[in-house]
């Protein structure tokens, strides 16, 4: 049993469920959903046992596959988010089926498994071809998922926008890969790093290729100025898919970015300073263009979309800080840490939205009015989620931001730091605006909301994770800094 077997098994399970639904339509969505969740959970359990075992990897994939601490982290991350999204889909199923063509949800349970396999594969990629194939596996599956609620015009619009812009960005990405291949003569990250450290490599060609490649990836992670699709797509997509996009797709984009930038910014790189400046500018723009418009949103889902853009900005800024030698995490480690804190708070936020939607409520801030009276537990959990997204101390969100800010200050990137601080201040405004609405009591004679025990316990567990990570992040930092013996970190 190796990690590779688990990945292949997940994809196979996805295909199996797809066929099963096609030939046995009488199987209920609960059976399908629970099978998918059980399969992914089993994969996660197996993964925990074999994650450090590199010896059992089949020989033929060794040249394309690495299993360092970052890869292990992102693989686990992909499995966890997939389980949560599948479960969230089951919770939202009653109202989601109203918008699907045949009143069924089959692909909503099989495609996430394939996405998960793609994300796990991407985490281990050692060269641009593997990256591209894995990325497409993820993106193409998302085209279907985003447009899944086809009877809703919002979902349809979101699907079309995502398809067109996604396809365009794929084209741009391939174009960039081609230029990089032209400049360096190789596709592997190790090779690119070696070539870029060599002064004989053509700087203009390499720089152009790297910049175009970053544009393509910028689309995927919603970096400014390629972020315009995010609010519409997030708003239109079914809530579980939005959560998946916001967490899973973003993490997938960032693992690729981490690998690519590790190569581009290698010691002595001929394009290092330009790429770093580019990252700082794009990161600063992204935090501002995410946070400032968010202040004026009335829909919580759009607000979360803009906030997701600004979180991408912080992550880009973290990537720009190389070798923050005064603390243990590398820039890729900070990104992974940030994403790990981002997962519970974002999923909890979308889970709350989905549960409210399932109770027939809308997604506007005014729908949150008086939530504390109608369901104190949900209000408390949503408060924890939003407070953490805002970066309130003692929650997980604060630590992630703290690492980014410390890194920027340590390197003396004062301009970017001021942008990040302004964005964080704006963040406090819009998250607390929503929290305030939840505790406002005027004119709320609406009935109480009730949720299943399962929903309560999953939401409670996520909130607990936020609080525990906020005061005891050591184990997580341990995962990200302990490279198992025998696995060389490819490029540092």
């Amino acid at each position: 049993m190796s990690v590779f077997t688990i990945e292949a098994g997940l994809a196979a399970l996805g295909l199996f469920l797809l066929l099963l639904e096609a030939f046995k339509p009488e199987i209920s969505r609960h059976t399908l959903g629970l099978t998918a969740i059980a399969g992914t959970t089993l994969a996660l359990v197996l993964f925990i046992f074999v994650s450090h075992d590199t010896a059992s990897l089949p020989g033929f994939i060794q040249p394309w596959h690495q299993l360092d601490s970052l890869a292990i982290f992102y693989k686990g991350f992909a499995l966890v988010i997939t389980i949560l999204v599948l479960w969230l889909t089951l919770q939202c199923a009653p109202y989601l089926t109203r918008f699907t063509v045949d009143g069924k949800l089959a692909e909503m349970f099989s495609l996430p498994l394939i996405v998960c396999a793609g994300m796990m594969w991407m985490a281990s990629a050692r060269d641009l071809v593997t990256v591209f194939v894995a990325l497409e596996l993820v993106t193409v599956s998302f085209y279907v998922l985003v447009a899944f609620a086809r009877k809703s015009s919002f979902s349809l619009e979101a699907g079309v926008k995502y398809l067109i812009l996604g396809a365009l960005s794929t084209g741009v990405l391939v174009y960039g890969i081609a230029w990089i291949y032209g400049a360096t003569g190789t596709m592997s990250f190790d090779g690119i790093a070696k070539a870029l450290a060599n002064p004989a490599t053509s700087k203009t060609t390499a720089l152009f290729g790297a910049a175009v490649l970053l544009c393509g990836l910028g689309f995927k992670v919603a970096a400014a100025p390629f972020h315009m699709w995010v609010p519409d797509v997030y708003q239109g997509a079914p809530t579980p898919v939005t959560a998946f996009l916001s967490v899973g797709s973003k993490a997938a984009g960032f693992v690729v970015l981490t690998r690519a930038l590790d190569a581009f910014l290698v010691e002595g790189s001929i394009i290092g300073s330009e790429i770093q400046a580019l990252l700082l500018v794009v990161g600063s723009l992204t935090v501002l263009l995410g946070s400032l418009p968010a202040m004026f949103q009335t829909s919580v889902k759009r607000l979360l979309a803009y906030s997701s853009i600004s979180h991408a900005g912080y992550l880009l800024l973290a990537l720009a800080c190389r070798e923050s030698a005064r603390f243990d995490l590398s820039s890729g480690g900070v990104v992974a840490f940030y994403l790990a804190t981002y997962l519970p708070m974002t999923v909890l936020g979308f889970l709350g939205l989905g549960l409210m939607r399932a109770n027939g409520l809308g997604e506007d801030i005014k729908d949150f009015t008086g939530l504390a009276k109608r369901n104190p537990l949900l209000a408390l959990l949503m408060t924890i989620s939003f407070a953490s997204l805002a970066g309130l101390p003692l929650t997980a969100g604060f630590l992630g931001k703290l690492f980014v800010f410390l890194g920027l200050a340590d390197h003396g990137y004062w301009g970017a730091l001021s942008c990040a601080v302004v964005a964080a201040a704006a963040g406090f405004y819009y998250y607390f605006k929503t929290i305030l609405a939840m505790y406002t009591t005027e004119g709320t004679d609406v009935p109480a909301l009730s949720f299943s025990v399962a929903a309560k316990s999953v939401a409670g567990a996520l909130a607990l994770a936020i609080l525990i990570l906020g005061v005891y992040p050591k184990p997580l930092q341990g995962v990200l800094t302990s490279d198992p013996p025998g696995v060389a970190v490819q490029v540092k």
Partner: protein, 486 residues
């Protein structure tokens, strides 16, 4: 495990208990009562000692070095004592209110205790933020004004204090980066202090960082001209929140300056441009706000503005930086916290019973509510600085601390400031005595009638008034906790 951890945890455990269904009043009163006893115990244990005591550290991250570390010196214990006293009084005086009043009070008090008793900069900052959130929420949700108006007041306070906190965060991050040494970031205050002793920064840089910290901590304490959030916020806030924020939480800024900024940047406050700026700002607090307070026509306005004004004296103690004046600043911090909490508590009771606080509508309450009048007199006279009550001891030490060195015939800027600031005492007397006279003396106003509270409702106020009297007559009780030079 240290007793301090128990003190920090108790209010939060009480919140959890209430949330799980325990009776709110009993749980919160029980927790705060035990807390007061525990804090008194630490004070008795610490009396006469120096340095950090009751330390305990739970490492959280190796590098950057971050740990949940508790520890207390005299200043922390005095402020913890203040918190425990005001918390008990604020919670005790709540009557017929939903559980959220108790929960918010426990959060504010618990956050303040956490900020005063931890020794890791990260947690000091974090606990303060934790305490600020319920303050804003309570003003916005249960403030004493129309919904639109109280929300505006809450947002104003949020923006000022939020921006202040961010500036503070920047200043603290700067400190941590400067003093962490080459290889490792640390947030441990003791490590930073020893590093600052070993390799002090050049004076010019100390001045820059000190100024950033002054702006950050200062806007939390309503330092002029960053004070305009304070008066409307206190006038609008529900009574326990006004008592706890003006009495305790606001003091965090002063605590930070004395405990973090001054020891790490000993020259920062004495570089000329910083000192002159600080003196100008604190004169703004004392003189400008003193005049503003004289023109107030309602009791809650008077109290809220006077609370801003009195911060000027404490800043004066910090600006002087001598041992005597700093100890005076700590004592005045304690005294002001107790006296303003007493006054806000009584003011809230009057508003509930009378429905108005305007001077020209009130009068002659003394004949019907003599005990209430006496309690109010304690607060008002303490606030003026009457000898025998704690505020006097603090103010005298601050004023005299500026005159430890007098060059023949030449007065320094500091000393001139003291001479100007003394006029503030006169202003305090004017507005406090006017408030006292127009509310309690003269002919009784028609239709406005109030009687003394029942004895059980007098207890919280008696507790605060007695504290003022005891520590006022025996200030060595507090000074004994500050044996070492600050």
């Amino acid at each position: 495990m240290s007793v301090l951890e128990l003190i920090i945890a108790l209010p939060l455990l009480a919140v959890l208990a209430i949330w799980l269904g325990a009776p709110a009043r009993a749980a919160s009163l029980g927790a705060t009562f035990i807390n007061l006893i525990l804090v008194l115990y630490t004070a008795v244990q610490y009396a006469g000692k120096t340095g950090l005591a009751f330390t305990y550290s739970r490492p959280i991250l190796e590098n950057p070095s971050l740990s949940f570390a508790v520890g207390a010196d005299g200043i922390s214990i005095i402020l913890a004592l203040l918190t425990a006293l005001v918390m008990l009084a604020a919670i005790w005086q709540i009557e017929d209110r939903p559980p959220i009043f108790y929960i918010a009070s426990l959060f504010i008090g618990g956050g303040a205790l956490g900020a005063f008793l931890t020794t890791d900069v990260f947690f000091i900052y974090a606990f303060h933020e934790l305490a600020l959130i319920p303050t804003f929420l309570m003003i916005a949700l249960h403030g004493r004004a129309e919904p639109a108006q109280r929300k505006a007041v809450a947002w104003k306070a949020t923006i000022y204090l939020g921006a202040g906190s961010l500036v503070l965060l920047a200043g603290l991050a700067w400190l941590v980066l400067e003093f962490s040494g080459g290889s490792k970031l640390t947030f441990d205050l003791e490590a930073l202090r020893s590093q600052a002793k070993l390799t002090p920064l050049p004076d010019a840089k100390q001045a820059q960082i000190f100024f950033v910290l002054l702006l950050g901590f200062g806007s939390l304490v309503s330092l002029f001209p960053f004070h305009s959030w304070a008066a409307p916020a206190y006038a609008t806030a529900p009574t326990p929140v006004a008592m706890l924020h003006s009495g305790v939480l606001k003091k965090f800024g002063l605590y930070g300056l004395i405990r973090i900024a001054l020891p790490l940047l000993p020259q920062g406050a004495h570089v000329e441009w910083v000192q002159n700026a600080l003196l100008l700002m604190l004169l703004g607090n004392i003189l400008v706000m003193g005049l503003v307070t004289i023109y107030a026509s309602r009791l809650d306005d008077t109290l809220a503005n006077s609370s801003v004004m009195h911060m000027g004296y404490i800043f004066l103690g910090i600006a002087a930086g001598t041992d005597i004046s700093l100890k005076g600043a700590v004592i005045l911090t304690f005294a002001h916290g107790i006296s303003i909490a007493l006054l806000f508590g009584l003011c809230g009771r009057m508003r509930n019973q009378l429905g108005t606080l305007e001077y020209n509508k009130l009068g002659g309450l003394a004949s019907h509510a003599p005990a209430f009048t006496v309690l109010f007199a304690f607060g008002a006279f303490a606030s003026i600085g009457l000898p025998g009550l704690t505020n006097f001891a603090g103010e005298v030490m601050i004023f005299l601390g500026n005159f430890t060195e007098v060059k023949a015939g030449v007065l320094s800027n500091l000393q001139w400031t003291v001479i100007l600031a003394l006029w503030g005492v006169v202003m305090s007397a004017v507005y406090m005595l006017r408030a006292y006279r127009s509310i309690f003396h003269g002919s009784p106003a028609t239709g406005l009638f109030m009687i003394d509270p029942a004895f059980s409702q007098r207890v919280p106020f008696i507790l605060l008034a007695a504290t003022l009297l005891i520590t006022g007559c025996c200030p060595w009780l507090l000074l004994n906790l500050m044996k070492s030079a600050l």
